[in-house]
Protein backbone atom coordinates (compact mmCIF):
# COMPACT_ATOMS: atom_id res chain seq x y z
CA UNK A 1 0.00 0.00 0.00
CA UNK A 2 1.51 3.31 -1.01
CA UNK A 3 -0.70 5.52 1.14
CA UNK A 4 1.16 7.35 3.86
CA UNK A 5 -0.29 9.67 6.47
CA UNK A 6 0.90 12.37 8.75
CA UNK A 7 -0.97 11.59 11.93
CA UNK A 8 -1.21 14.20 14.65
CA UNK A 9 -2.65 12.98 17.93
CA UNK A 10 -3.95 15.57 20.37
CA UNK A 11 -3.86 14.17 23.88
CA UNK A 12 -4.35 15.76 27.26
CA UNK A 13 -3.36 14.48 30.66
CA UNK A 14 -5.84 13.77 33.44
CA UNK A 15 -5.67 12.70 37.08
CA UNK A 16 -5.20 8.99 37.61
CA UNK A 17 -8.76 7.60 37.82
CA UNK A 18 -7.95 5.98 41.17
CA UNK A 19 -7.48 9.35 42.84
CA UNK A 20 -10.09 11.06 44.98
CA UNK A 21 -10.98 14.40 43.43
CA UNK A 22 -12.10 17.44 45.34
CA UNK A 23 -12.89 20.75 43.65
CA UNK A 24 -11.55 23.97 45.15
CA UNK A 25 -11.97 27.53 44.00
CA UNK A 26 -8.87 29.68 43.76
CA UNK A 27 -8.15 33.15 42.44
CA UNK A 28 -8.14 31.81 38.86
CA UNK A 29 -11.43 29.97 39.18
CA UNK A 30 -12.15 26.37 40.03
CA UNK A 31 -9.57 23.61 40.10
CA UNK A 32 -8.86 20.40 41.92
CA UNK A 33 -7.36 20.19 45.37
CA UNK A 34 -3.65 19.36 45.14
CA UNK A 35 -4.01 19.25 41.38
CA UNK A 36 -0.32 19.55 40.64
CA UNK A 37 0.61 16.61 42.81
CA UNK A 38 -2.15 14.26 41.75
CA UNK A 39 -0.61 11.46 39.72
CA UNK A 40 -1.55 11.97 36.08
CA UNK A 41 -2.13 9.67 33.15
CA UNK A 42 -2.69 10.22 29.45
CA UNK A 43 -6.38 10.74 28.90
CA UNK A 44 -7.81 7.27 28.27
CA UNK A 45 -9.62 8.13 25.01
CA UNK A 46 -6.67 10.05 23.65
CA UNK A 47 -4.49 7.10 24.62
CA UNK A 48 -6.69 4.84 22.46
CA UNK A 49 -6.22 7.33 19.65
CA UNK A 50 -2.46 7.25 20.11
CA UNK A 51 -2.26 3.45 20.06
CA UNK A 52 -4.46 3.33 16.97
CA UNK A 53 -2.31 6.00 15.34
CA UNK A 54 0.89 4.14 16.14
CA UNK A 55 -0.65 0.95 14.78
CA UNK A 56 -1.74 2.69 11.58
CA UNK A 57 1.61 4.42 11.11
CA UNK A 58 3.38 1.09 11.52
CA UNK A 59 1.11 -0.49 8.89
CA UNK A 60 1.79 2.30 6.43
CA UNK A 61 5.57 2.75 6.28
CA UNK A 62 6.59 6.28 5.56
CA UNK A 63 3.85 7.67 7.78
CA UNK A 64 4.70 10.07 10.56
CA UNK A 65 3.32 10.40 14.07
CA UNK A 66 3.25 13.47 16.30
CA UNK A 67 1.76 13.76 19.75
CA UNK A 68 0.63 17.28 20.64
CA UNK A 69 -0.09 17.69 24.32
CA UNK A 70 -0.97 20.70 26.42
CA UNK A 71 -0.25 20.51 30.13
CA UNK A 72 2.21 21.59 32.80
CA UNK A 73 5.69 20.53 31.71
CA UNK A 74 6.41 18.62 34.89
CA UNK A 75 3.29 16.53 34.49
CA UNK A 76 3.91 16.02 30.80
CA UNK A 77 7.29 14.47 31.45
CA UNK A 78 5.86 12.12 34.03
CA UNK A 79 3.14 10.94 31.68
CA UNK A 80 5.38 10.75 28.63
CA UNK A 81 7.70 8.43 30.49
CA UNK A 82 4.88 5.93 30.66
CA UNK A 83 3.64 6.52 27.13
CA UNK A 84 7.12 6.36 25.64
CA UNK A 85 7.33 2.80 26.94
CA UNK A 86 4.44 1.81 24.70
CA UNK A 87 4.87 3.70 21.42
CA UNK A 88 7.37 5.91 19.63
CA UNK A 89 6.33 9.38 18.49
CA UNK A 90 7.55 12.90 18.07
CA UNK A 91 6.38 15.08 20.94
CA UNK A 92 5.08 18.62 20.61
CA UNK A 93 4.55 19.78 24.18
CA UNK A 94 2.72 22.98 25.06
CA UNK A 95 3.36 24.17 28.60
CA UNK A 96 -0.05 25.21 29.87
CA UNK A 97 -2.45 24.75 32.72
CA UNK A 98 -3.85 21.39 33.71
CA UNK A 99 -7.45 20.76 34.51
CA UNK A 100 -10.98 20.20 33.42
CA UNK A 101 -12.19 23.71 34.11
CA UNK A 102 -10.13 25.47 31.46
CA UNK A 103 -11.91 26.57 28.32
CA UNK A 104 -11.89 24.11 25.43
CA UNK A 105 -11.90 26.86 22.79
CA UNK A 106 -8.66 28.28 24.13
CA UNK A 107 -7.12 24.80 24.32
CA UNK A 108 -8.17 24.15 20.72
CA UNK A 109 -6.64 27.43 19.57
CA UNK A 110 -3.30 26.59 21.20
CA UNK A 111 -3.32 23.07 19.73
CA UNK A 112 -4.25 24.28 16.25
CA UNK A 113 -1.47 26.88 16.30
CA UNK A 114 1.06 24.25 17.34
CA UNK A 115 -0.10 21.85 14.62
CA UNK A 116 -0.11 24.50 11.93
CA UNK A 117 3.50 25.30 12.86
CA UNK A 118 4.74 21.69 12.60
CA UNK A 119 7.75 21.65 10.29
CA UNK A 120 7.14 19.51 7.23
CA UNK A 121 3.42 19.17 7.78
CA UNK A 122 1.55 18.17 4.62
CA UNK A 123 -2.09 18.97 5.26
CA UNK A 124 -3.26 16.80 2.38
CA UNK A 125 -1.98 13.78 4.26
CA UNK A 126 -3.09 14.92 7.72
CA UNK A 127 -5.16 12.70 9.97
CA UNK A 128 -5.99 14.50 13.19
CA UNK A 129 -6.58 12.03 16.00
CA UNK A 130 -7.75 12.50 19.56
CA UNK A 131 -10.29 11.27 22.07
CA UNK A 132 -14.00 11.93 21.58
CA UNK A 133 -14.32 12.45 25.33
CA UNK A 134 -11.91 13.03 28.18
CA UNK A 135 -11.66 12.15 31.82
CA UNK A 136 -11.27 15.79 32.83
CA UNK A 137 -13.34 18.39 30.98
CA UNK A 138 -15.03 15.76 28.84
CA UNK A 139 -16.78 18.29 26.59
CA UNK A 140 -15.94 16.36 23.46
CA UNK A 141 -15.43 19.52 21.42
CA UNK A 142 -11.72 20.32 21.40
CA UNK A 143 -10.88 18.10 18.47
CA UNK A 144 -13.73 19.42 16.32
CA UNK A 145 -12.59 22.97 17.01
CA UNK A 146 -9.00 22.15 16.10
CA UNK A 147 -10.28 20.51 12.91
CA UNK A 148 -12.33 23.57 11.99
CA UNK A 149 -9.39 25.84 12.67
CA UNK A 150 -7.31 23.70 10.31
CA UNK A 151 -10.11 23.73 7.73
CA UNK A 152 -10.89 20.02 7.89
CA UNK A 153 -14.51 19.23 7.04
CA UNK A 154 -14.48 15.44 7.25
CA UNK A 155 -14.81 14.67 10.91
CA UNK A 156 -15.76 11.50 12.77
CA UNK A 157 -16.51 11.07 16.48
CA UNK A 158 -16.73 8.01 18.70
CA UNK A 159 -14.50 6.11 16.28
CA UNK A 160 -13.76 2.49 17.07
CA UNK A 161 -12.16 1.42 13.81
CA UNK A 162 -10.49 2.72 10.66
CA UNK A 163 -9.73 0.55 7.63
CA UNK A 164 -7.52 2.15 5.01
CA UNK A 165 -8.01 1.03 1.44
CA UNK A 166 -5.57 0.75 -1.44
CA UNK A 167 -6.64 4.07 -2.96
CA UNK A 168 -6.08 6.01 0.25
CA UNK A 169 -9.77 6.21 1.11
CA UNK A 170 -10.88 4.65 4.35
CA UNK A 171 -13.88 3.20 6.15
CA UNK A 172 -14.69 4.48 9.63
CA UNK A 173 -16.90 3.02 12.35
CA UNK A 174 -18.43 5.66 14.61
CA UNK A 175 -20.47 4.99 17.71
CA UNK A 176 -24.08 6.11 17.44
CA UNK A 177 -27.11 5.60 19.65
CA UNK A 178 -28.35 2.16 20.62
CA UNK A 179 -24.97 0.49 20.89
CA UNK A 180 -24.45 0.62 17.12
CA UNK A 181 -21.78 1.81 14.75
CA UNK A 182 -22.40 4.10 11.80
CA UNK A 183 -20.23 3.03 8.87
CA UNK A 184 -18.85 5.73 6.55
CA UNK A 185 -16.32 5.88 3.80
CA UNK A 186 -14.16 8.92 3.34
CA UNK A 187 -12.19 9.84 0.25
CA UNK A 188 -9.04 10.22 2.35
CA UNK A 189 -7.01 12.72 4.30
CA UNK A 190 -7.39 15.32 5.68
CA UNK A 191 -9.83 14.14 8.30
CA UNK A 192 -10.49 14.34 12.03
CA UNK A 193 -11.08 11.17 14.02
CA UNK A 194 -12.20 11.42 17.64
CA UNK A 195 -11.65 7.97 19.09
CA UNK A 196 -13.74 5.99 21.53
CA UNK A 197 -11.91 2.91 22.81
CA UNK A 198 -10.78 1.57 19.46
CA UNK A 199 -10.09 -2.11 18.95
CA UNK A 200 -6.51 -2.45 20.12
CA UNK A 201 -5.29 -3.72 23.46
CA UNK A 202 -3.09 -1.27 25.34
CA UNK A 203 0.53 -1.95 24.38
CA UNK A 204 2.63 -3.37 27.19
CA UNK A 205 5.01 -1.14 29.06
CA UNK A 206 8.58 -1.67 28.05
CA UNK A 207 10.77 0.55 30.21
CA UNK A 208 13.75 -0.08 28.01
CA UNK A 209 11.94 1.19 24.95
CA UNK A 210 10.74 4.10 27.08
CA UNK A 211 14.18 5.11 28.21
CA UNK A 212 15.42 5.08 24.64
CA UNK A 213 12.43 7.08 23.40
CA UNK A 214 12.77 9.61 26.21
CA UNK A 215 16.15 10.57 24.86
CA UNK A 216 14.42 12.43 22.02
CA UNK A 217 11.41 13.50 24.06
CA UNK A 218 13.40 15.27 26.77
CA UNK A 219 14.89 17.95 24.48
CA UNK A 220 11.37 18.57 23.14
CA UNK A 221 10.05 18.96 26.68
CA UNK A 222 12.82 21.38 27.52
CA UNK A 223 11.69 23.54 24.61
CA UNK A 224 7.95 23.39 25.40
CA UNK A 225 6.31 26.68 24.51
CA UNK A 226 4.22 28.27 27.22
CA UNK A 227 0.56 28.97 26.49
CA UNK A 228 -1.91 31.02 28.44
CA UNK A 229 -5.53 30.13 27.89
CA UNK A 230 -8.25 32.75 27.57
CA UNK A 231 -11.51 32.17 29.40
CA UNK A 232 -13.74 33.09 26.42
CA UNK A 233 -16.37 34.54 28.68
CA UNK A 234 -16.63 31.41 30.79
CA UNK A 235 -17.69 32.18 34.36
CA UNK A 236 -18.21 29.48 36.96
CA UNK A 237 -21.10 30.03 39.33
CA UNK A 238 -20.57 26.93 41.43
CA UNK A 239 -18.46 23.77 41.36
CA UNK A 240 -19.17 21.06 43.86
CA UNK A 241 -18.80 17.42 44.72
CA UNK A 242 -22.18 15.74 44.69
CA UNK A 243 -23.19 13.72 47.67
CA UNK A 244 -22.63 10.13 46.73
CA UNK A 245 -23.33 8.43 50.00
CA UNK A 246 -26.34 6.16 50.10
CA UNK A 247 -27.62 4.34 53.10
CA UNK A 248 -26.57 0.84 52.25
CA UNK A 249 -28.35 -2.23 53.56
CA UNK A 250 -25.77 -5.00 53.66
CA UNK A 251 -27.25 -8.50 53.72
CA UNK A 252 -24.63 -10.94 54.91
CA UNK A 253 -26.65 -13.96 55.87
CA UNK A 254 -29.46 -14.33 53.36
CA UNK A 255 -29.61 -17.59 51.41
CA UNK A 256 -29.31 -17.44 47.61
CA UNK A 257 -32.97 -18.47 47.44
CA UNK A 258 -34.10 -15.57 49.63
CA UNK A 259 -31.92 -13.11 47.76
CA UNK A 260 -33.32 -14.37 44.46
CA UNK A 261 -36.89 -13.96 45.66
CA UNK A 262 -36.19 -10.43 46.87
CA UNK A 263 -34.44 -9.51 43.62
CA UNK A 264 -37.25 -10.87 41.46
CA UNK A 265 -39.78 -8.83 43.42
CA UNK A 266 -37.52 -5.77 43.04
CA UNK A 267 -37.09 -6.27 39.30
CA UNK A 268 -40.85 -6.61 38.86
CA UNK A 269 -41.74 -3.60 41.00
CA UNK A 270 -42.48 -0.31 39.24
Amino acid sequence: MSTTYQIVVCAGIVPDPLQSLEPVTGPNGPGLKNEMVLPAVLDPWAASALYEAAHLAAKLPGSKLWLVSLGPKAKLQQVMMTIAQKVAFELVPIDGPIGGFTDAHATAAALADAIAALPGLDRTRLLLFGGWESASRGAGITLQLVGERLGITDQFQGVDQIDVREDGSFEVLERVEGGKHQVSTCAGAPAVLGWATGCLAEPRNNPQVGMANMRTLMPALQKAKPATLAANGLQYVDVHLPSQQRTTRVERDMTPEDIARELVAWIGAE
Binding site: V183, S184, G233, H240, Q245, R246, T247, L263, W266
Partner: protein
Amino acid sequence: MKPILVLTHADESGSALTKASLEAVTAGKDLAQQLSAPLVIGVIAVHAVAAASALAATEARILSVTGEAFAQARYASDAAACEALCRAADSALVLAPGSSRFARIAAGVAHRLGGVIDTHITALGGSSTVEATRWFYRQRVEGVFHREASPWFLLLEPGTQTAFTGTPGTVQVESVAVELPAPRTYVTGVRAASQGQQTIRPDAKLLLVAGAGWTKKQPDGQVHATEAGQLILGFLGNSGASLGSSKSLVDQGGEGQPVLPFLTHMNQIGQTGSTPRHAKGLSTCCHGEEPHVVGWRFIGDRRAISLDPNCGWTRGKADVVYIADAFQVIAKVNELLSVNKP
Protein backbone atom coordinates in the same frame (compact mmCIF):
# COMPACT_ATOMS: atom_id res chain seq x y z
CA MET B 1 -33.96 40.45 22.23
CA LYS B 2 -32.45 37.94 19.85
CA PRO B 3 -34.41 34.71 19.50
CA ILE B 4 -33.52 31.40 21.04
CA LEU B 5 -32.78 28.79 18.42
CA VAL B 6 -33.38 25.09 18.96
CA LEU B 7 -31.71 22.81 16.44
CA THR B 8 -33.42 19.48 15.80
CA HIS B 9 -32.99 16.60 13.44
CA ALA B 10 -35.10 13.73 12.16
CA ASP B 11 -34.65 10.05 12.89
CA GLU B 12 -33.87 7.38 10.29
CA SER B 13 -37.35 7.77 8.78
CA GLY B 14 -36.48 11.33 7.77
CA SER B 15 -39.97 12.52 8.70
CA ALA B 16 -40.08 12.43 12.51
CA LEU B 17 -37.94 14.28 15.02
CA THR B 18 -35.86 12.25 17.46
CA LYS B 19 -36.83 12.08 21.12
CA ALA B 20 -33.66 13.95 22.08
CA SER B 21 -34.63 16.72 19.63
CA LEU B 22 -38.04 17.03 21.28
CA GLU B 23 -36.34 17.22 24.67
CA ALA B 24 -34.34 20.19 23.38
CA VAL B 25 -37.58 21.77 22.20
CA THR B 26 -38.96 21.60 25.75
CA ALA B 27 -35.83 23.26 27.11
CA GLY B 28 -36.00 25.92 24.38
CA LYS B 29 -39.64 26.71 25.11
CA ASP B 30 -38.96 27.03 28.84
CA LEU B 31 -35.97 29.24 28.25
CA ALA B 32 -37.78 31.47 25.75
CA GLN B 33 -40.50 31.98 28.32
CA GLN B 34 -38.02 32.68 31.10
CA LEU B 35 -36.12 35.24 29.05
CA SER B 36 -39.17 36.56 27.19
CA ALA B 37 -37.40 35.82 23.95
CA PRO B 38 -38.85 34.59 20.66
CA LEU B 39 -38.33 30.91 19.85
CA VAL B 40 -37.04 29.61 16.54
CA ILE B 41 -36.75 25.90 15.79
CA GLY B 42 -34.46 24.64 13.08
CA VAL B 43 -35.23 21.26 11.55
CA ILE B 44 -32.86 19.10 9.53
CA ALA B 45 -34.80 16.34 7.79
CA VAL B 46 -35.37 14.76 4.44
CA HIS B 47 -39.07 15.49 4.90
CA ALA B 48 -38.95 18.63 7.00
CA VAL B 49 -42.62 19.53 6.84
CA ALA B 50 -43.68 16.13 8.12
CA ALA B 51 -41.04 16.19 10.82
CA ALA B 52 -42.00 19.72 11.89
CA SER B 53 -45.66 18.79 12.37
CA ALA B 54 -44.84 17.68 15.90
CA LEU B 55 -43.87 21.29 16.66
CA ALA B 56 -47.22 22.86 15.79
CA ALA B 57 -48.08 23.57 19.41
CA THR B 58 -44.80 25.39 20.07
CA GLU B 59 -45.98 28.37 18.03
CA ALA B 60 -42.36 28.92 17.15
CA ARG B 61 -40.91 30.10 13.90
CA ILE B 62 -39.78 26.96 12.07
CA LEU B 63 -36.77 26.95 9.75
CA SER B 64 -35.66 23.88 7.89
CA VAL B 65 -32.92 22.43 5.78
CA THR B 66 -34.24 19.62 3.76
CA GLY B 67 -33.24 17.19 1.06
CA GLU B 68 -31.78 13.74 0.46
CA ALA B 69 -28.29 15.00 1.27
CA PHE B 70 -29.43 15.29 4.87
CA ALA B 71 -30.52 11.70 5.20
CA GLN B 72 -26.96 10.97 6.12
CA ALA B 73 -25.42 12.05 9.39
CA ARG B 74 -22.04 13.37 8.31
CA TYR B 75 -19.93 16.31 9.22
CA ALA B 76 -19.70 18.35 6.03
CA SER B 77 -23.41 18.42 5.18
CA ASP B 78 -24.73 18.61 8.76
CA ALA B 79 -22.33 21.39 9.71
CA ALA B 80 -23.29 23.37 6.63
CA ALA B 81 -26.99 22.85 7.40
CA CYS B 82 -26.71 23.98 11.01
CA GLU B 83 -24.55 26.93 10.03
CA ALA B 84 -27.20 28.05 7.56
CA LEU B 85 -30.00 27.65 10.10
CA CYS B 86 -28.05 29.63 12.72
CA ARG B 87 -27.30 32.43 10.31
CA ALA B 88 -30.95 32.57 9.26
CA ALA B 89 -32.16 32.66 12.86
CA ASP B 90 -29.51 35.13 14.06
CA SER B 91 -29.71 33.82 17.60
CA ALA B 92 -27.47 34.50 20.58
CA LEU B 93 -28.43 31.25 22.29
CA VAL B 94 -28.63 27.93 20.45
CA LEU B 95 -29.91 24.74 22.05
CA ALA B 96 -29.48 21.34 20.47
CA PRO B 97 -29.73 17.72 21.54
CA GLY B 98 -26.45 16.00 22.43
CA SER B 99 -27.14 13.25 19.90
CA SER B 100 -24.25 11.58 18.12
CA ARG B 101 -25.27 13.52 15.01
CA PHE B 102 -25.10 16.96 16.59
CA ALA B 103 -22.22 16.16 18.96
CA ARG B 104 -20.18 15.55 15.82
CA ILE B 105 -20.74 18.98 14.32
CA ALA B 106 -21.99 21.51 16.87
CA ALA B 107 -18.53 22.66 17.98
CA GLY B 108 -17.48 23.25 14.39
CA VAL B 109 -20.65 25.24 13.73
CA ALA B 110 -20.13 27.36 16.83
CA HIS B 111 -16.62 28.13 15.64
CA ARG B 112 -17.82 29.12 12.16
CA LEU B 113 -20.22 31.59 13.75
CA GLY B 114 -17.55 32.98 16.05
CA GLY B 115 -19.41 31.59 19.01
CA VAL B 116 -18.74 29.21 21.87
CA ILE B 117 -20.21 25.88 22.88
CA ASP B 118 -20.79 23.81 25.98
CA THR B 119 -21.96 20.23 25.90
CA HIS B 120 -23.44 17.51 28.13
CA ILE B 121 -25.73 20.08 29.73
CA THR B 122 -27.97 18.42 32.31
CA ALA B 123 -29.89 21.47 33.51
CA LEU B 124 -30.50 25.10 32.63
CA GLY B 125 -31.15 27.66 35.32
CA GLY B 126 -30.54 31.27 36.27
CA SER B 127 -33.02 34.11 36.05
CA SER B 128 -31.94 37.05 33.90
CA THR B 129 -28.95 35.14 32.55
CA VAL B 130 -28.65 31.50 31.61
CA GLU B 131 -26.72 29.21 33.90
CA ALA B 132 -25.87 25.77 32.61
CA THR B 133 -25.05 22.68 34.66
CA ARG B 134 -22.84 19.80 33.59
CA TRP B 135 -20.49 17.20 34.98
CA PHE B 136 -16.74 17.39 34.95
CA TYR B 137 -14.19 14.65 35.53
CA ARG B 138 -16.54 11.92 34.35
CA GLN B 139 -19.53 12.54 36.58
CA ARG B 140 -17.39 13.20 39.64
CA VAL B 141 -17.67 16.99 39.94
CA GLU B 142 -20.72 19.05 39.06
CA GLY B 143 -20.34 22.60 37.80
CA VAL B 144 -22.70 25.49 37.10
CA PHE B 145 -21.48 28.20 34.75
CA HIS B 146 -22.38 31.07 32.52
CA ARG B 147 -20.90 32.46 29.29
CA GLU B 148 -20.67 36.03 28.17
CA ALA B 149 -19.73 35.10 24.60
CA SER B 150 -22.28 34.91 21.78
CA PRO B 151 -23.66 32.95 20.10
CA TRP B 152 -23.60 30.38 22.87
CA PHE B 153 -24.37 26.82 21.86
CA LEU B 154 -25.66 24.43 24.50
CA LEU B 155 -25.83 20.73 23.73
CA LEU B 156 -28.32 19.06 26.05
CA GLU B 157 -27.63 15.62 27.46
CA PRO B 158 -30.32 13.26 26.18
CA GLY B 159 -32.64 12.03 28.93
CA THR B 160 -32.38 15.15 31.07
CA GLN B 161 -35.49 16.95 29.75
CA THR B 162 -39.06 15.91 29.08
CA ALA B 163 -39.73 15.41 25.39
CA PHE B 164 -42.12 17.96 23.88
CA THR B 165 -45.53 16.39 23.23
CA GLY B 166 -47.81 19.12 21.86
CA THR B 167 -50.62 18.26 19.48
CA PRO B 168 -49.22 17.77 15.96
CA GLY B 169 -50.51 19.94 13.18
CA THR B 170 -49.61 21.72 10.05
CA VAL B 171 -46.91 24.30 10.46
CA GLN B 172 -45.37 26.84 8.21
CA VAL B 173 -41.82 25.85 7.49
CA GLU B 174 -39.34 28.31 6.05
CA SER B 175 -36.81 26.47 3.96
CA VAL B 176 -33.22 27.64 4.23
CA ALA B 177 -30.91 27.09 1.31
CA VAL B 178 -27.55 25.45 1.90
CA GLU B 179 -24.58 25.36 -0.35
CA LEU B 180 -22.89 22.02 0.15
CA PRO B 181 -19.26 21.32 -0.60
CA ALA B 182 -18.53 18.37 -2.89
CA PRO B 183 -19.09 15.33 -0.67
CA ARG B 184 -16.04 13.27 0.33
CA THR B 185 -17.75 11.13 2.94
CA TYR B 186 -20.66 8.74 2.44
CA VAL B 187 -22.53 6.86 5.14
CA THR B 188 -22.84 3.27 3.99
CA GLY B 189 -24.88 1.81 6.83
CA VAL B 190 -25.22 1.00 10.47
CA ARG B 191 -23.68 -2.03 12.10
CA ALA B 192 -24.66 -3.55 15.45
CA ALA B 193 -21.55 -3.84 17.57
CA SER B 194 -22.77 -6.99 19.22
CA GLN B 195 -25.78 -9.08 18.71
CA GLY B 196 -29.28 -8.87 20.07
CA GLN B 197 -29.91 -7.93 23.60
CA GLN B 198 -26.29 -7.97 24.76
CA THR B 199 -25.91 -4.30 24.03
CA ILE B 200 -26.62 -1.30 26.17
CA ARG B 201 -30.24 -0.40 25.52
CA PRO B 202 -31.25 2.98 26.92
CA ASP B 203 -34.93 1.98 27.04
CA ALA B 204 -34.41 -0.91 29.48
CA LYS B 205 -35.56 -0.32 33.06
CA LEU B 206 -32.84 -2.47 34.51
CA LEU B 207 -29.10 -2.48 33.91
CA LEU B 208 -27.19 -5.64 34.75
CA VAL B 209 -23.49 -5.02 35.21
CA ALA B 210 -21.11 -7.95 35.05
CA GLY B 211 -17.79 -7.59 36.84
CA ALA B 212 -14.49 -9.40 36.47
CA GLY B 213 -15.41 -11.86 39.23
CA TRP B 214 -17.50 -13.87 36.75
CA THR B 215 -14.41 -15.17 35.01
CA LYS B 216 -12.19 -15.51 38.08
CA LYS B 217 -11.53 -18.80 39.84
CA GLN B 218 -14.53 -19.93 41.84
CA PRO B 219 -14.44 -21.65 45.24
CA ASP B 220 -13.73 -25.01 43.54
CA GLY B 221 -10.53 -23.54 42.12
CA GLN B 222 -11.84 -23.59 38.55
CA VAL B 223 -12.96 -20.88 36.14
CA HIS B 224 -16.55 -21.26 35.01
CA ALA B 225 -16.69 -18.79 32.15
CA THR B 226 -19.17 -20.79 30.07
CA GLU B 227 -21.57 -21.15 32.98
CA ALA B 228 -21.12 -17.46 33.77
CA GLY B 229 -22.03 -16.57 30.20
CA GLN B 230 -25.11 -18.75 30.29
CA LEU B 231 -26.28 -17.29 33.59
CA ILE B 232 -25.84 -13.72 32.37
CA LEU B 233 -27.56 -14.33 29.04
CA GLY B 234 -30.33 -16.21 30.84
CA PHE B 235 -30.86 -13.27 33.12
CA LEU B 236 -30.97 -10.81 30.22
CA GLY B 237 -33.48 -12.98 28.38
CA ASN B 238 -35.68 -13.35 31.41
CA SER B 239 -35.52 -9.82 32.77
CA GLY B 240 -35.19 -7.67 29.63
CA ALA B 241 -32.23 -5.94 31.25
CA SER B 242 -29.55 -4.03 29.39
CA LEU B 243 -26.01 -5.36 29.82
CA GLY B 244 -23.08 -3.37 31.07
CA SER B 245 -19.66 -4.48 32.19
CA SER B 246 -16.71 -3.33 34.22
CA LYS B 247 -13.56 -2.34 32.34
CA SER B 248 -11.58 -5.13 33.94
CA LEU B 249 -13.91 -7.79 32.56
CA VAL B 250 -13.86 -6.34 29.06
CA ASP B 251 -10.08 -5.93 29.17
CA GLN B 252 -9.52 -9.58 29.99
CA GLY B 253 -10.06 -10.39 26.34
CA GLY B 254 -6.94 -8.46 25.46
CA GLU B 255 -4.93 -10.23 28.14
CA GLY B 256 -5.68 -13.73 26.95
CA GLN B 257 -7.82 -14.59 29.95
CA PRO B 258 -11.17 -16.38 29.84
CA VAL B 259 -13.73 -14.06 28.32
CA LEU B 260 -17.44 -13.70 27.85
CA PRO B 261 -17.55 -13.54 24.07
CA PHE B 262 -20.61 -11.31 23.89
CA LEU B 263 -18.95 -8.44 25.77
CA THR B 264 -17.12 -5.61 24.03
CA HIS B 265 -15.92 -2.17 25.02
CA MET B 266 -19.38 -0.97 23.98
CA ASN B 267 -20.69 -2.55 27.18
CA GLN B 268 -18.22 -0.81 29.41
CA ILE B 269 -19.63 1.30 32.24
CA GLY B 270 -17.56 3.74 34.27
CA GLN B 271 -14.69 6.15 34.14
CA THR B 272 -13.66 5.17 30.63
CA GLY B 273 -16.99 3.73 29.60
CA SER B 274 -20.52 5.02 29.45
CA THR B 275 -22.80 6.51 32.07
CA PRO B 276 -26.21 5.09 31.14
CA ARG B 277 -29.54 6.14 32.58
CA HIS B 278 -31.73 3.38 33.99
CA ALA B 279 -34.22 3.21 36.83
CA LYS B 280 -32.50 0.21 38.41
CA GLY B 281 -29.09 -1.36 38.33
CA LEU B 282 -27.80 -4.69 39.56
CA SER B 283 -24.06 -5.18 39.92
CA THR B 284 -22.64 -8.68 39.98
CA CYS B 285 -19.10 -9.82 40.74
CA CYS B 286 -17.71 -6.29 40.73
CA HIS B 287 -15.73 -4.49 43.46
CA GLY B 288 -17.58 -1.21 43.24
CA GLU B 289 -14.41 0.88 42.99
CA GLU B 290 -14.87 4.58 42.36
CA PRO B 291 -13.74 4.64 38.69
CA HIS B 292 -16.39 2.06 37.95
CA VAL B 293 -19.13 3.52 40.09
CA VAL B 294 -18.92 6.94 38.41
CA GLY B 295 -20.64 5.15 35.52
CA TRP B 296 -23.58 4.51 37.86
CA ARG B 297 -24.22 8.20 38.45
CA PHE B 298 -27.61 8.09 36.72
CA ILE B 299 -28.79 4.69 37.92
CA GLY B 300 -31.73 5.03 40.32
CA ASP B 301 -31.99 2.02 42.64
CA ARG B 302 -28.68 0.22 42.97
CA ARG B 303 -28.22 -3.32 44.20
CA ALA B 304 -25.10 -5.42 44.19
CA ILE B 305 -24.16 -9.03 44.73
CA SER B 306 -20.61 -9.46 45.94
CA LEU B 307 -18.64 -12.01 47.90
CA ASP B 308 -16.56 -9.27 49.47
CA PRO B 309 -18.20 -7.75 52.55
CA ASN B 310 -15.79 -4.80 52.28
CA CYS B 311 -16.39 -4.03 48.62
CA GLY B 312 -17.02 -0.47 47.51
CA TRP B 313 -20.75 -1.07 47.16
CA THR B 314 -21.15 -1.54 50.90
CA ARG B 315 -19.65 1.88 51.54
CA GLY B 316 -22.61 3.97 50.55
CA LYS B 317 -22.51 3.29 46.83
CA ALA B 318 -25.44 0.87 46.59
CA ASP B 319 -28.83 0.74 48.26
CA VAL B 320 -28.66 -2.96 48.95
CA VAL B 321 -25.65 -5.27 48.87
CA TYR B 322 -26.02 -9.03 49.11
CA ILE B 323 -22.90 -10.77 50.35
CA ALA B 324 -23.38 -13.91 48.32
CA ASP B 325 -22.18 -15.97 45.39
CA ALA B 326 -23.63 -14.44 42.22
CA PHE B 327 -23.48 -17.78 40.44
CA GLN B 328 -25.94 -19.23 42.95
CA VAL B 329 -28.13 -16.16 43.21
CA ILE B 330 -28.49 -15.52 39.47
CA ALA B 331 -29.22 -19.21 38.86
CA LYS B 332 -32.09 -18.96 41.35
CA VAL B 333 -33.25 -15.63 39.93
CA ASN B 334 -33.31 -17.14 36.45
CA GLU B 335 -35.35 -20.09 37.71
CA LEU B 336 -37.91 -17.77 39.26
CA LEU B 337 -37.99 -15.34 36.32
CA SER B 338 -38.37 -18.02 33.69
CA VAL B 339 -41.55 -19.13 35.41
CA ASN B 340 -42.89 -15.63 35.68
CA LYS B 341 -41.32 -13.22 33.19
CA PRO B 342 -41.89 -9.57 34.04
